[in-house]
């Protein structure tokens, strides 16, 4: 024993005790903070750490035509993976792998090197959307190259050669920009969404809902178990109003040309066909589009990415004369207007020429329509004045969006005095009205606007909203489609629009502007137009370059009264409306032919489709070998389908 009291000061002993107590209190506080105060935060973080959500991708809905024929489908696409947690010498195998997958061996080695620092469980994506023979190579080399694996995902399969590309659109990974928009706020980076066309407009419907698999992972991220799985909800299939047979006819008509073709049912506003040219192949975007390819598409002067049916804003040319005629009739000016056309006329000190240099002679409204006399409409425009013209044109929807269910429709321009002051801070000059009278000047409209306006006139003022889906076939609760059945009415004098459409039916007759587009046996009413891009004198300066050639227009419908179909054609660089008229009549003819070939009334059999029941009596040996008893029976006989086989699916969908 030693004298503790004389050796260690009591003060110092107490001080050390308090020091140790203090340290323990700090540690205890730390424990309490982690376990109690922030336990929710840390338990959540830990939860995330040890369960991982692996998405189960939902296949997108198919897109069908109005008869249920496939336009857009999905296909299983395989990607080649290189697993790195095997004990193989990856660099040594690189040559064989590269050869089988048609890659560059050095590139494969570079990627192995680049991934060297990444966790081992993370595989390298060697190649996306591999071909069947590359898949075959991987399957055949399971033993030699166990590090190769494949993963399957559904990809979009679009029709071949850009068929219907603008209407259908395409899909892609959701971009940063899109994620910031409210419509896309529920999506995650990496989600595949519609980028344009129907794919974008009805994305929520087509997309379905991804499922997820809760995997248990260890702290290295390796899957060690499975907790549960919520199944993916596949996207809904979407039935368009497009008639594939008509679409094919329209695609064939516009093939290789610049412009647009749109066909619509004027009763309902259902779009039956819509083509824009030149086109692009959305299958190229389904995997990955190279920057060069993309730039080529964006910078192409023919603008292949633009859906010209709803996005081209151009002068309507003489097709505008139909609007002028109806406006003139409603204002009681056109019906009694008599003009002597001498090949041109002077207004406000400037000479305005007629397209027929020799003049049309004595012209009334009827002749002015089927011969497209400019001088008559100059005179009419001068009498109406810009604001009355603008009122009717606006009533018929020109210079405004039609409200079609496709993204990025443009407004166009319908000029008026007010428009000029608002946009140019200038007074309207009366001389400008004269050009507007023949659809030149500042008037700029889209094909679908013109289609809707002429459709309304052909239906006595009934304005429909063009649309590409059938609102009644949409899933319940899908409110966006509601307004496509709304009909607006423009009050028109029946004598007026009947007179105008009668005159339009002479356009394709020998005395009209497009006799070469005449189809025997089909009563087509229409109007041609050719619109200048620049004035004729400017064009002469550029040696009549093709890039400045006039745009040909045609808008027409059949039959003349209560029409079934109305078609609008824009043929850029088509020079004259009669060429556009020929494209339009191809589509109209395809429609009429189909109506004729398709029996309107089919006797549907009560049993299985394609079979018919036949009753019969016959004699056959009975039990005792005699043939004295008659037997009766019913047979179901397969019948060949009488209905002519039209298109079964869009090109490339088999």
């Amino acid at each position: 024993m030693f004298g503790r009291d004389e050796k260690v000061s009591a003060l110092r002993l107490t001080a050390s005790q308090y020091l140790i107590l203090g340290i323990f209190l700090i540690l205890a506080y730390g424990l309490w903070r982690l376990q109690v105060m922030q336990s929710d935060y840390y338990s959540l973080a830990a939860e995330r750490n040890h369960t991982r959500n692996v998405p189960v991708l939902a296949p997108r809905g198919k897109i069908l035509d109005r008869e249920g024929r496939i336009i857009v489908d999905n296909y299983p696409s395989f990607s080649a993976l290189l697993l790195r947690d095997s004990s193989r010498d990856l660099n040594g195998d690189a040559d064989l792998i590269a050869q089988g997958l048609h890659l560059n061996a050095d590139e494969v080695r570079t990627r192995i090197k680049r991934f060297a620092s990444m966790p081992q469980y993370q595989p390298i994506f060697l190649k996306e959307d591999i071909t069947p023979d590359e898949l075959q190579f991987i399957e055949a080399h399971r033993n030699e190259l166990p590090e190769l694996d494949t993963i399957m995902a559904h990809r979009r399969l679009y029709p071949r050669n850009g068929f219907m590309a603008h209407l259908v659109g395409y899909v892609g990974e959701v971009s940063e920009d899109m994620l910031n928009q409210p419509a896309f706020e529920l999506y995650n980076p990496g989600d595949v969404v519609g980028i344009s066309g129907v794919e974008r407009q009805y994305n929520t419907l087509l997309m379905g809902k991804n499922g997820s698999r809760q995997a248990l992972v260890d702290s290295h991220g390796r899957e060690v178990g499975r907790l549960g799985e919520t199944e993916a909800v596949p996207g809904k299939q979407l039935k368009l109003t497009i008639d594939l047979d008509l679409q094919i006819a329209a695609e064939e008509a516009l093939a290789g040309k610049n412009g647009a073709v749109v066909a619509m049912d004027p009763h309902t506003g259902e779009i039956l066909a819509m083509v824009s040219g030149p086109t692009f192949d959305p299958n190229d975007f389904a995997v990955r589009v190279s920057r060069d390819e993309w730039n080529k598409l964006v910078n192409d002067p023919d603008k292949p990415l633009l859906n010209k049916a709803i996005q081209a804003q151009l002068a309507p040319g003489s097709t505008f004369k139909i609007i002028m005629s109806v406006a003139g009739w409603q204002e009681h000016i056109a019906q009694d207007l008599h003009v002597n056309c001498t090949g041109g006329a002077e207004f406000y000190g400037r000479r305005f020429g007629c397209w027929v240099k020799g003049g049309h002679g004595a012209v009334t409204l009827e002749k002015a329509i089927y011969q497209s006399c400019d001088v008559f409409f100059y005179t009419l425009a001068n009498k109406l004045g810009i604001d009355r013209i603008a009122k009717y044109a606006t009533d018929f929807g020109l210079g405004q969006k039609t409200g079609i269910d496709l993204p990025n429709e443009v407004n166009g321009v319908m000029p008026s005095e007010e428009w000029k002051i608002r946009n140019f801070k200038q007074k309207w000059f009366a001389g400008e009205t004269i050009s507007v009278g023949i659809g030149q000047g500042a008037v700029a409209i889209t094909p679908v606007q013109l289609l809707r306006a002429i459709s309304a006139i052909s239906m006595g003022g009934r304005m429909v909203v063009p649309h590409v889906i059938n609102p009644t076939e949409m899933p319940p609760g899908y409110v966006e489609a509601g307004h496509y059945t709304e009909v607006k009415s423009v009050p028109l004098d029946p004598n007026g629009w009947n007179f105008v459409t009668d005159a339009m039916s002479r356009v394709l007759l020998p005395e009209g502007t497009a006799p070469s587009a005449h189809v025997p046996g089909i009563d087509i009413a229409g109007k041609t137009g050719s619109a200048q891009i620049v004035s004729l004198t400017t064009r002469a300066k550029f040696k009549n370059s093709d890039a400045l050639a006039q745009n040909g227009w045609f808008v027409g419908f059949t039959p003349r009264r209560n029409p079934d179909i109305v078609v609008c054609v824009l043929f850029q660089g088509g020079e004259h409306g009669r060429l556009a008229a020929r494209l339009a009549t191809q589509v109209i003819k395809a429609y009429v032919d189909k109506q004729k070939r398709t029996p309107q009334k089919m006797v549907e059999k009560p049993n299985a489709p394609g079979t018919v029941d036949i009753g019969g009596l016959w004699s056959a040996p009975d039990d005792d070998g005699d043939k004295d008893g008659l037997q009766a029976g019913r047979f179901a006989i397969d019948l060949p389908k009488k209905r002519p086989v039209l298109a079964t699916a869009a090109p490339g969908m088999n």
Binding site: K7, S9, R12, L13, S16, H50, D218, V224
Partner: protein, 188 residues
């Protein structure tokens, strides 16, 4: 000098706190290893704690005065083990800290050196007669801790080496360190 130690003199409160901390450790191990390949480690930990408590009671039978009498031998042995680790130790994670024992276990001398240092420092100050710590004693105490500390720093194992400092500090503080010396120590 020896005296009979009764279990009534035992610091049961201290044991209670030690077991409380051990209990928290078991819980943490359980929650950290559940669903992993280390699942069940907390059971092992309980075995180790029980073994440790048993060892503790055994050790409590030994009169620490007897240990103090032999402390210079322990101290020499600990320095020798630290030199041995520098010469024959197994290298892992860039440091030589362990000596491979027959049977596959690894022995880390720097750990038991802590206990030896506590006893050595206690003995050193107990034998000091005056109330105030002289500069000479200050440096001697510093050397007792400093030599093994430098050897551990050579391994290198800064973490363990730093745990030796509070041992020296507490010994010097209770042994009558002057404020100037405290300042010098904290600067060294």
């Amino acid at each position: 000098m020896s005296r009979y130690v009764s279990y009534r003199d035992f610091d049961w409160l201290l044991l209670g706190f030690v077991l409380l901390i051990c209990g928290l450790g078991v819980m943490e191990i359980q929650s950290a290893t559940v669903h992993t390949k280390f699942a069940g480690s907390h059971i092992k930990q309980i075995y180790w704690i029980l073994a440790g408590v048993g060892m503790m009671f055994l050790m409590s039978l030994v009169n620490y005065q007897a240990l103090l009498d032999q402390i210079h031998w322990f101290y020499i042995a600990s320095i020798a083990s630290l030199i041995a680790v520098l010469l024959f130790g197994t290298k892992a994670l860039g440091a030589k800290r362990w000596i491979k024992m027959p049977g596959g276990n690894h022995f880390q001398p720097s750990e038991w050196v802590k206990l030896v240092l506590i006893l050595a420092i206690a003995k050193f100050f107990a034998e000091m007669r005056q109330r105030e710590l002289s500069w000479g004693d200050f440096f001697k105490a510093g050397a007792i801790v400093g030599v093994p500390m430098l050897l551990v720093l050579r391994q290198p194992d800064l973490g363990t080496a730093l745990t030796y400092l509070p041992i020296a500090a507490m010994g010097m503080f209770l042994g009558g360190m002057q404020w100037k010396q405290g300042l010098a120590r904290s600067m060294s």
